[in-house]
Amino acid sequence: MTNPLRDDFPALHQTINDRPLVYLDSAASSQQPQRVIDAVAAYQGHDHANVHRGVHDLSHRATEAYEGARDRIQAFINANSRSEIVFTRGTTEAINLVAQSYARPRIGAGDKIIISALEHHSNIVPWQLVCEQTGAELLVIPMNTQGDLDIDAYQAMLDKRVALVAVGHVSNALGTVNQVSRIIELAHAHDIAVLLDGAQGVPHMAVDVRALDCDFYAFSGHKMFAPTGIGVLYARESLLDAMPPYQGGGDMILEVTFDKTTYNELPYKFEAGTPNISGVIGLGAAVDYLNSVDMNSVAAAENDLLDYMTEKVSAIDGIRVYGNANNKASVLSFLLDDIHPHDLGTILDHQGIAIRTGHHCAMPVMQFFGIPGTARASLALYNDRNDVDALVTAIEKAREIFA
């Protein structure tokens, strides 16, 4: 019954307050397999130099490792070309890049950008900024109390003044897997580009950007078993080609004079400055790891475990679950009696169980339900029923303390 993949993750094998660690906070950040840790260490310890610059051997090795990772990431999400894989600091920077380089130059007063009621702050605030800068309007697709988006309402919003639709693939607060294919199809019928925030999608299911037919797909390394500080923006090559650079600096140029600068080819036009080389190598190793475990079987096992967790936790007296969408991944958000989620989080931590408590950087979702926050248990490919059983026991303990 123990999940064999646990053995690949050294951080999971420790005690917290004399109890075995039960890590149920992967939606905030996932742990890293030994393979990723080793790949980063090998680079740091042996192959480090700047990329794309030196004629010496170390620089060549670093460049090979860096660009090799790009190729594997391209294949992993089935992008058409390596030019479509832009490295960023994370999902947040990827979305800001699209907001500033794609949306900002092409919108003005009277234009509209559509997001949804389920978004993480990183897919709200960049659009608010660009709307402030341009006078465009931000529209929000409403959701119902299950946590499902209202697709009819969305359809009614679409017209020729909408410049972009930006929605999450999977909600980090409620776990809803949005109907992204339908959302994209409807937008494309009006020639509107669609960005998917895939931070919570990539770690939990096979993602094929060509099958999805999305125009932009943003995701983060640290939610998919790689280090922090590295992420990816996938974008259609034709769109990237037409977009101005996001930042200026080294590596993103072909030629600089004081009169004029010629930008480098894709994807380097969007990678100014020395990049996060070790992060990219770690991300490449995480992709190798995910290929070795098969994302389709990971998704199936996680869905079974989410069903089990939902059933067991819901059965505890006084539990209220937030978000029971038709299609969910990884996340169970809940409250217990009138206990504030932070108090619940402290009592669970005391028993070695790591969950997230609070608003999950999705304050509008909490406002929708009229609650200050939730307790959120989130699963990854290394969790198993033992983790869920420990969670249930710990929640019952919290009830005793607050009885």
Partner: protein, 151 residues
């Protein structure tokens, strides 16, 4: 850490004040007020003071937060009602110092009830919950209109 630490953190007095906070509500005609926000947690409270001369004649707070932050606010309002402003400021210094020193400085003479908050010293992530209301108090007394935070 043992279960005793948890019981210490969630003492009866803390649970009682969090469930039945004293001086909870809005204070019409207050002379001083401030908001306390913990952006990470989303805890938010609004503190109202009515100061006549140099004495805190009335006090109230409203908002949402965890058991620790609500109980701390409730205990605080109970304790500083009727105090001279200088004494309230002195209490702020003593309590925040007491709660934020990891080794615990128990030398100061404080109201017995505040010792109920001592449990947070074993829970570093929760210290900011206990000090939120106190930072709002300081902000209200200093009269600047910026919300107080514990980040």
């Amino acid at each position: 850490m043992s279960n005793e630490d948890l019981r210490e953190l969630y003492r009866e007095l803390i649970l009682d004040h969090s469930r039945h906070p004293r001086h909870f509500g809005k204070l019409e005609g207050c002379t001083h007020q401030a908001e306390g926000i913990n952006p990470l947690c989303g805890d938010k409270l609004h503190l109202y003071l009515s100061i006549e001369g140099d004495t805190i004649e009335d006090i109230a707070f409203e908002g949402t937060g965890c058991a620790i932050s609500v109980a701390s606010a409730s205990l605080m309002t109970d304790a500083i009602l009727g105090l001279h402003v200088k004494d309230a400021e002195q209490t702020f210094s003593v309590i925040t110092h007491r709660l934020t020193q990891p080794d615990g400085d128990d030398s100061a003479d404080i109201d017995e009830k505040f010792k109920a908050l001592d449990g947070v010293r074993d829970f570093p992530a929760r210290v900011k919950c206990a000090t939120l209301a106190w930072h709002a108090l300081q902000a209200a007394l200093s009269g600047h209109n910026q919300p107080a935070t514990t980040e």
